[in-house]
Structures are given as structure tokens and as C-alpha cells.
């Protein structure tokens, strides 16, 4: 058993997401796919008006310039799965920790709700369950049985759909094969209509994600903080047509 763990850790992938801002249209398909896959509740109008939200991925919109030369930039932001994650060392109960595949995992039943991780996160991608989630029956039937429904007092965030990673890993193991590039797709990547999101293994230099990460357009959010995120953005909006 111990042998097993060791060998898998050595060959373990470094999961990463590439977000091509040139393809992204801001259509929110990823947001809803994430809700569906990860049993994320809605907060309702009253709480939403106070500024609460429960999304593991959001589309941030920034304005540039003034009318009529105004430009809106849309950018999907989810947990950046930092290699040097500021959220990890502050957790007093080790509810958030670094797994061998480089993911910032969140162990819900360890979480005691100090919200230190949320304060430490420079990307503000963690959301806290202030209330018990409500799924009026029969909306409970839609819940994904692979994912825990978080209760009140728990911090939650994007997991890169770890349940889908595990499912794909178990499937290929049962078939005695290796994971192929593109075989693991988080729900947001699976649904993204313009294929702006690409998921893959950075340890495999030939994966599509690795190739895109080497693009001259690539950058990382708040790179200067040294968090070394596993989400790589590709800059958009360069036009070669005069207009």
C-alpha cells in the first residue's frame, strides 16, 4: 500500500487550467456547470443584494475607457490552485492542504469556519456558508452524489472537480491504461462553448495545457505575490486588423 502511494506520487500529474481570454465570451456556462456539478446552493435575492454570492467560478468584468471608446474585459476567475498557497498555512485545523497532485484540497469535515483562509486568499475565490443550504424538494434530486453538500459554517471553493479527476483515474486504472491528455475535464471545461478553458497536466510537456502555457500570451494573476498559481491566463484582444 505504502509502495503504491509513493510510486503514484512520483508519477503524479500537476493539474493546471489554461484560460484563453481571447476565446472567453463571458457567457456564464462554466458558472452554471459548476453549480450543477458541485452542488453549490443559491443565496437568493435578499442575500445577493447584501453582496453575498456562492460561486466557485465567477466572470469578473472590468471597464476600460469611456464611451464611445469603452471596452469591457471579461475574465473567469476560480481558485488558482497555488503552489505556494497563502490559504494553507493559516488554517488551524489543516482543513485546507496541499495534495500530491498539487491541488489545494479542502476537507469539509475538518473545517471549523475560522475563515482565515478566505482572508488570506489574494484572489477572493473562497466562499463561506453563512446559512444552511436550501434545496426545496425535489431540487434535491439533482444533487451530484459524488460531492458533499456543505453545511453551515464551512468554507468552500473550486476543487478542479477532484471527483471527476478521481473518476477518470479509477476508470483508466480498471482498464489498465494511462490517462490520456484531455480525458480529465472539470465541469467548466467540459461545457465551455468557445473552448476557452483547457485542463491538463503540466508535468506532461506535450499536453495541450502545457503547450498553451508556453504561449507568449500567458500570464498569471497577481504573479508578483509569488503564489505560483496553476491557472494560466492567455491574454486576449490583440487585433491585427486596423479599424
Amino acid at each position: 500500500m505504502a509502495q503504491d502511494v509513493k510510486s503514484s506520487a512520483e508519477a503524479s500529474p500537476r493539474w493546471a487550467m489554461v484560460v484563453d481570454l481571447d476565446r472567453c465570451t463571458g457567457c456564464q456556462a462554466c458558472v452554471i456547470a459548476c453549480h450543477a456539478e458541485n452542488n453549490i446552493p443559491v443565496v437568493g435575492e435578499e442575500q445577493a443584494a447584501y453582496g453575498r454570492w456562492m460561486h466557485w467560478i465567477i466572470i469578473q468584468r472590468y471597464w476600460e475607457g469611456e464611451y464611445p471608446n469603452v471596452k469591457a474585459r471579461l475574465m473567469p476567475v476560480m481558485c488558482q490552485q497555488c503552489t505556494q498557497a497563502p490559504c494553507e498555512p493559516v488554517c488551524p485545523v489543516f482543513a485546507t492542504y496541499h495534495n500530491p497532485e498539487g491541488l489545494n484540497a479542502q476537507i469539509y469535515n475538518r473545517c471549523i469556519g475560522t475563515r482565515f483562509c478566505g482572508s488570506a486568499c489574494p484572489y477572493k475565490v473562497r466562499t463561506f456558508n453563512w446559512f444552511e443550504p436550501e434545496f426545496p424538494a425535489p431540487l434535491t434530486e439533482q444533487l451530484n452524489p459524488d460531492v458533499t453538500v456543505r453545511s453551515r459554517g464551512i468554507m468552500e471553493k473550486c476543487t478542479f472537480c477532484i471527483q471527476r479527476i478521481r473518476r477518470a483515474e479509477m476508470d483508466v486504472k480498471a482498464e489498465g491504461r494511462q490517462l490520456a491528455d484531455g480525458q480529465v475535464q472539470p465541469a467548466c471545461v467540459q461545457t465551455c462553448p468557445p473552448s476557452a478553458l483547457v485542463f491538463g497536466d503540466l508535468n506532461d510537456p506535450n499536453s495541450q495545457a502545457s503547450q498553451l502555457a508556453r504561449s507568449h500570451r500567458s500570464f498569471r494573476l497577481l504573479d508578483e505575490l509569488g503564489t505560483d498559481p496553476a491557472v494560466i491566463y492567455l491574454k486576449g484582444g490583440e487585433t491585427n486588423v486596423p479599424g
Binding site: 457567457c27 456564464q28 456556462a29 435575492e45 445577493a48 453575498r52 468584468r61 465541469a187 461545457t191 468557445p194
Partner: protein
């Protein structure tokens, strides 16, 4: 174990042989153990079953795969094999589960007791409901007084209902709803028919033109919100991604011409905020410059010069507010590209000069020889089976109006309503509610108690799309002929019944001609027979030796499509004989009294309002304003300042027809002379998530010149004024208004 000796073996064999010959049963029998609870055959604990079906959240007809565990649908994903959406799905498609598992669904058939006002609904048995329908239909002196009003009706039901009405001797179904109105679907089909129709071609259901976004180098979109709700947004978004980063010839260029910066315009390289109603003039000016300066690499433009004979570019620049230099630059960009395409969008149809504007936009494609060329304009290739060629055609507004007139005149005794909500979707002046009063029996097939269903005498809920059968011709098409197949992925949750089965049962009970026209025992028999029309088609992705085999592969794949791409090149048969004309657009409301153009737009989440009962869609932030759960009014910062209002101030928007109140969103991406409001909220009925939330801006839309007959609904031709109320209402939005544009953790 004891070794079996030869003697023992022979003895046993002899005894067994006697047993066989005499029919004596062996002393120990094998009996299968029967558990008390028997799991369905395809269920493996902890393993998901995936079923291919069709999304019904909009008319596009994307293929879906539904993940089912223990008999419950858990997740909807795009079908990677489907040629339209190619594995992708939009936010509304993902939310389909909340239609199926919506807590406010009707659980059984109901009838209204005590007239239509007091809203007393009592459950009714299906047999009783059918009895009532049969006796009403039998009691009619004149069966032509039956009418069917549909919206997002699947093609198989349109086919069945059309045969049913024809056999009854009643007029064909009217298919009209707000979603298709806002995307100008009927008018887009009209445009294609005007330009590419054969002289004796189809009158109804002309295929919609397709624009090859993926391979275009330059796209000029005139108000087509092709990444949001227009036509086939998932397919178009997929192609947009390819246009941006997947092309061999480099990154494509998208210019968007519209008064408000939509999400599509935000993704565009250039947004040109045109004065509403002058889109056609701009297309005309671009064409004139191309022809006059002989731009592009397609040879002489002499043949097309007459189209732009009397066009003055400087007049156009003045009228539209787009400078001559900009027009020249744009004309050069469009003409210099090898693969450019101009797309006429849906909101043009809501303007009084919509048809002319769409013509001038299409003319750009003709002048630049973009028909049937890579990155240009195509027509879909027909599915090679009669059943699927006459795909459902959307009725123009005039047909809905004439139905209302017939109802008002007391010429309709029985009205069937399926998947449309005219009481909410039509402006009050269309008179639908008053017309309902004159109809003896109103039957709704709605799954929810919406604004129209509450006026019905009988509500006979159809299955939701994840519980029901059907098929949907893909239009506007994928790059090949395709029919999306719909099948139940879960057992129906409640005592609902397929409307197709209700129609077939009615036909059987009525007997005679009607029963002969609809001989199928049930919906599935009809679908099976329809699907096997494609049996033996060599071009399909699959074939089978038997109809049964074909039908099972149909369900497995979720429809039928060809293996190879196949599109038709449009041939211009209806070239304008004289110069192109664009008359000035007419607007309701005196500009002095009503200084702003009302720019309605379909909400990305709720589209025309049918998504309003799904909590995920309500909570989904609008990408541009990040607003949720309510209605808002978008004002240019300059306009807001001049009115003295700020974000979250409640204003009153007043048109010659009506007024509404909503919170302000100061929006940098809108012309100062326009006011934008999303459509979709303001439901008075339709379940707990939709009701009493925001306002329905259709109440502002005024009839243009008494809404001349034959015109589409002029939903973009109203002027309004805005007044402050002094009140504030915190709009639920995702962005924090700290000015930095960054989220704060709360």
C-alpha cells in the same frame, strides 16, 4: 471429493436418461432468488448511465448527454458527437435539471372551476379531461373553430398537431413566442426566402441562412448577439472560439454595430454604437464605398453598382453619426479580407425598416461574393427524409394578430396553448387577455402555472423535456444535415402526460377522418416510424438492417446526422431589381417628450422570461452588469448625471404605452440617447423563483402606427423618458461598487 467411477457414471447417466425420457423432474431444481426490491436492469450501484437527448431550453436543438444515477438525472452535458454543439452547452442548457426538478411543477391535470377570474383549480383525472375535450370537439358545429397556439414546440408535435388540425378542417398551428420574436427568426427566414428562394419554392419553413463564423476573417454583425441568445448561441460560440484562435490565417476580426454594448459587442474588436434605425444606412454606405472604390479582390463591382446608385456617403455619415473616415476604414477592412461575412441580427426585425436593413446587410455578402464560400453564407442541406424536411416554421407576428382577431370575433371555440406564454410575452395592447374571454374552452399544456395557464379552463401538463419524447430539426443548421432526437432520461415524476399522446388519443376517440390521419397507437410508434424514414441512407453516421435496429441506434446517438459536412451554396434568385432603399426608421413617441430610445434586450439567463423559474439562472450574474434576480435600467454615465441619478436609484421609465420602475445601473456601454432594460423578469405567476420580481418591459412597447398589418412586432421602436423617484433599491449584483472592480470577501 470421491472420484467418480465408470460404473457410477453409467448408473447416473441411465437414471438421468430415464428422467429425460419420462419427463420426471429432477429432485433438486434451480430456482432464482427473487429480491423484494428489484433494481432497474441498467442500474449498477454507484455507476452513472448516460442518455443522449435534446436540449429544449431554446429552439437551437443542441444534443445533450444526461448523467443518470439511481434513476435520477444529475447533470446535463453537451453531446460531443453532435455536430451542432460539439459537446458544449450554455448556462441555460446546464440548468435544464431545474425544469425537471422544479418545485413548482404541476403534478397533475387541473380544471378551473368557477370561471376564469377566481383561480380555483381542482385536480381532474386524465380520462375525465379527455372526455371533456372529446365531447367539446364533438359538440362543435364547425370544427374549423379550433386553434393551436404554440411556442417552443418540438418538431414531432408540430407535425402531429398539424395533421390533427388539418383532418379536423381547422387552420394550421400558429407558432409564435417572444424568444423567436427577439431573435427575428421569422424575419431571418423571410430574408433567406427573398434572396435565395426558388420561384415556386417552399412558402413555409424556408431554411435559415447560416454564417460560417469559424472560418471568417472579418465579421460585421449588425445587432446579432450571436454569443448570447440569437439562433444557435452554443454553436456560434464554438465557432467564435475557432475564429479567434483556431484559424490558420490568424485571428479573426469582429465588429458589432448596435446601440448598446452587448456581451457579444464586449467580445468584439470594435463596437460601433449606431443610432437605432440607421444600421441599414451604414450597410448601404459600406456597400457604396466598396462598389465606388472597387475594393476587394473579387473583380469588378460593375454588376452591383446599380444597388447603390443614389447613395450619398456623406448623408449617411451625418444620419448615422459614424464618420466618413470610419466608414471608409470599415469598408476597406471588410473588402480586403479574403473571407468576410455580414450578419443581420435579430433586433433589426424590431425596427420599422427591419426588412430593408436586413436586405442591405445581405447585399454586402452578395457584393463580396461570400455565398457558399468558406467563411461566408450557406444554406443547410436538407435531411433526406420527407418527415424532417418540413421543419417547423415560426409564424410572423401578423399570424398571431390574426388569431387574436379571430378569437375576439368569437370565431375560436377551442384554443390549445403549448410552450408559449402570450399573456406575459405580448404587450397588453395586442389584446390577448381580452380575446381569451371570447374563447369557450382554453386548454393549456404548460408544466407550470404561468400567466397564460391561469386563464385556461383545463391545464393538461406535458412532460418536461427530460421525461418526454420527440425530435427537433436543427435550424439554423450545423455544418451538416442533422435531426436531434429527444428521449426520456428519467421516468416522469408526476401524473403528467405527453401532449402528443393526448392528441393521438383525441384523434382515436373522434374517429373518422381524424383517426385515419393519425393512425399511431402512441407517440413512440410515430417517432419510430419517422426515424426509420432514414433507414438505408448511406450518408448517415450509422445505419441498420432492420427498423428496430435503426430506432435503437437513433436513441443511442440522440438523433441522426450525416458523417461528412454537407452545406448548400445559396443561389441568388431574388436580386433586387432597383437600388437598395432604407427608409428612416419610425419610432413611437415625440422626441421632445420622450428623449430616449428604449433598447430592450433578451436576458442572457432568462431569455424571454422562460428561464425565470429556475434558481440557477436567477442567481447567474448578467455578464455585463453583474445584476441578478431583478430588473434594472441601464443609463450612460452622462445621461445619469444629467438626470441626477446614481447606481441603485429607482427611476420611472415612461413610454407612450406604459411605465415601470427599476433600479439604475450606470452603464458606460450605451449611447447617451438610449435606455436599455433586460427582458425576462416581472412575472406575476410562474412559480416561487419568478413571481413578483422586477418588471416586464414589454409593457413599455407601444404599437407603431397602430401596428400596421404584416409588420413584425416593433419592439425596438419605442421612445421613453426617465424620471427619478427619489427612492433607492439595492440591486443584487456580483460586482462591488467600490470603483476598483475587485471583489471583496464578505
Amino acid at each position: 471429493m470421491k472420484r467418480l467411477s465408470r460404473r457410477d457414471f453409467l448408473k447416473t447417466a441411465a437414471v438421468a436418461g430415464v428422467g429425460v425420457f419420462t419427463g420426471i423432474a429432477p429432485t433438486v431444481r434451480r430456482v432464482a432468488l427473487e429480491p423484494f426490491v428489484r433494481p432497474p436492469e441498467e442500474e449498477l450501484p454507484g455507476r452513472a448511465t448516460w442518455f443522449a437527448s435534446t436540449c429544449r431550453q431554446c429552439p437551437a436543438g443542441c444534443g445533450i448527454l444526461v448523467r443518470v444515477i439511481n434513476g435520477r438525472a444529475r447533470k446535463i452535458e453537451g453531446n460531443p458527437a453532435h455536430p451542432l454543439n460539439r459537446g458544449k452547452l450554455c448556462a441555460r442548457g446546464q440548468t435544464g435539471l431545474q425544469v425537471l426538478y422544479n418545485p413548482d411543477r404541476l403534478k397533475n391535470a387541473v380544471r378551473q372551476t368557477g370561471g376564469r377570474e377566481p383561480r380555483q383549480f381542482k385536480p381532474i383525472q386524465w380520462t375525465e379531461a379527455l372526455d371533456q375535450l372529446v365531447s367539446t370537439l364533438n359538440g362543435l358545429a364547425d370544427r374549423s373553430r379550433v386553434a393551436f397556439l404554440g411556442g417552443l414546440v418540438p418538431d414531432h408535435l408540430v407535425a402531429l398537431v398539424s395533421s390533427f388540425l388539418k383532418a379536423l378542417g381547422a387552420p394550421p398551428p400558429v407558432l409564435f413566442d417572444l424568444h423567436t420574436t427577439l431573435e427575428g427568426r421569422a424575419e431571418a427566414a423571410d430574408l433567406a426566402r427573398r434572396w435565395f428562394g426558388k420561384p415556386q419554392g417552399q412558402v413555409q419553413g424556408f431554411p435559415l441562412p447560416m454564417y460560417d463564423i469559424a472560418r471568417a476573417q472579418v465579421i460585421f454583425s449588425f445587432g446579432a448577439n450571436l454569443l448570447e441568445t440569437w439562433m444557435s448561441p452554443v454553436s456560434q460560440s464554438y465557432d467564435y472560439g475557432l475564429m479567434r484562435q483556431g484559424q490558420a490565417g490568424g485571428r479573426g476580426f469582429l465588429a458589432q454595430f448596435e446601440p448598446r454594448l452587448s456581451m457579444t459587442a464586449a467580445s468584439a474588436d470594435k463596437w460601433i454604437p449606431v443610432e437605432p434605425g440607421t444600421e441599414g444606412l451604414i450597410a448601404l454606405g459600406l456597400g457604396r464605398i466598396i462598389v465606388e472604390d472597387n475594393l476587394g479582390h473579387v473583380g469588378s463591382h460593375r454588376d452591383h453598382a446599380y444597388l447603390y446608385r443614389n447613395v450619398s456617403v456623406s448623408d449617411i455619415a451625418q444620419a448615422s453619426g459614424v464618420s466618413i473616415e470610419t466608414l471608409r476604414k470599415l469598408a476597406n477592412v471588410f473588402a480586403d479580407a479574403d473571407r468576410s461575412v455580414a450578419i443581420p441580427g435579430g433586433y433589426l426585425a424590431g425596427l420599422s425598416n427591419g426588412a430593408q436593413t436586413m436586405d442591405t446587410v445581405m447585399a454586402l455578402n452578395v457584393v463580396m461574393r461570400r455565398l457558399g464560400r468558406e467563411g461566408g453564407v450557406f444554406l443547410p442541406h436538407q435531411v433526406p427524409a420527407e418527415q424532417f424536411t418540413s421543419s417547423a416554421s415560426i409564424s410572423p407576428f401578423s399570424e398571431a394578430q390574426s388569431l387574436i382577431e379571430r378569437m375576439k370575433a368569437g370565431q375560436v371555440d377551442v384554443l390549445f396553448i403549448h410552450s408559449t406564454n402570450p399573456v406575459y410575452e405580448l404587450p397588453g395592447w395586442a389584446g390577448f387577455v381580452e380575446a381569451l374571454d371570447k374563447v369557450r374552452l382554453v386548454v393549456s399544456f404548460s408544466s407550470f402555472m404561468d400567466e397564460t395557464a391561469i386563464w385556461a379552463d383545463l391545464v393538461l401538463p406535458d412532460h418536461t423535456y427530460l421525461e418526454g419524447w420527440g425530435y427537433q430539426g436543427v435550424s439554423p443548421g450545423a455544418d451538416r444535415p442533422a435531426v436531434s432526437g429527444q428521449q426520456p432520461v428519467v421516468r416522469p415524476l408526476y401524473d403528467t402526460r405527453s401532449t402528443a399522446d393526448v392528441v393521438l388519443a383525441l384523434a382515436a376517440r373522434l374517429g373518422g377522418q381524424v383517426a385515419q390521419a393519425l393512425p399511431w397507437s402512441d407517440e413512440v410508434a410515430f417517432l419510430e416510424q419517422s426515424s426509420t424514414q432514414l433507414l438505408g441512407t448511406s450518408s448517415g453516421i450509422y445505419d441498420a438492417r432492420t427498423p428496430d435496429g435503426f430506432w435503437s441506434r437513433w436513441r443511442q446517438h440522440g438523433g441522426w446526422w450525416t458523417e461528412k459536412p454537407l452545406r448548400d451554396e445559396p443561389e441568388v434568385s431574388g436580386m433586387p431589381t432597383g437600388p437598395l432603399q432604407v427608409s428612416p426608421a419610425a419610432f413611437v413617441g415625440d422626441p421632445q417628450q420622450y428623449p430616449f430610445h428604449l433598447a430592450l434586450y433578451p436576458s442572457l439567463a432568462l431569455t424571454d422570461g422562460r428561464g425565470a423559474n429556475q434558481p440557477w439562472l436567477q442567481e447567474m450574474p448578467d455578464p455585463m452588469t453583474t445584476g441578478r434576480w431583478n430588473t434594472w435600467v441601464e443609463l450612460n454615465p452622462v445621461t445619469a448625471r444629467s438626470l441626477g441619478v446614481h447606481d441603485n436609484d429607482v427611476v420611472k421609465v415612461i413610454s407612450p404605452q406604459g411605465e415601470l420602475e427599476a433600479a439604475v445601473v450606470v452603464y458606460p456601454g450605451i449611447r447617451p440617447d438610449a435606455v436599455a432594460i433586460p427582458v425576462g423578469q416581472g412575472h406575476s405567476d410562474y412559480g416561487r423563483f419568478a413571481e413578483r420580481r422586477g418588471s416586464n418591459p414589454l409593457s413599455l412597447v407601444a404599437p407603431l402606427l397602430g401596428q400596421a398589418p404584416g409588420l413584425p412586432l416593433q419592439w425596438a421602436a419605442t421612445r421613453v423618458r426617465v424620471e427619478g423617484t427619489g427612492r433607492r433599491q439595492e440591486l443584487a449584483r456580483l460586482e462591488s461598487l467600490d470603483g476598483a472592480g475587485r471583489e471583496k470577501l464578505r
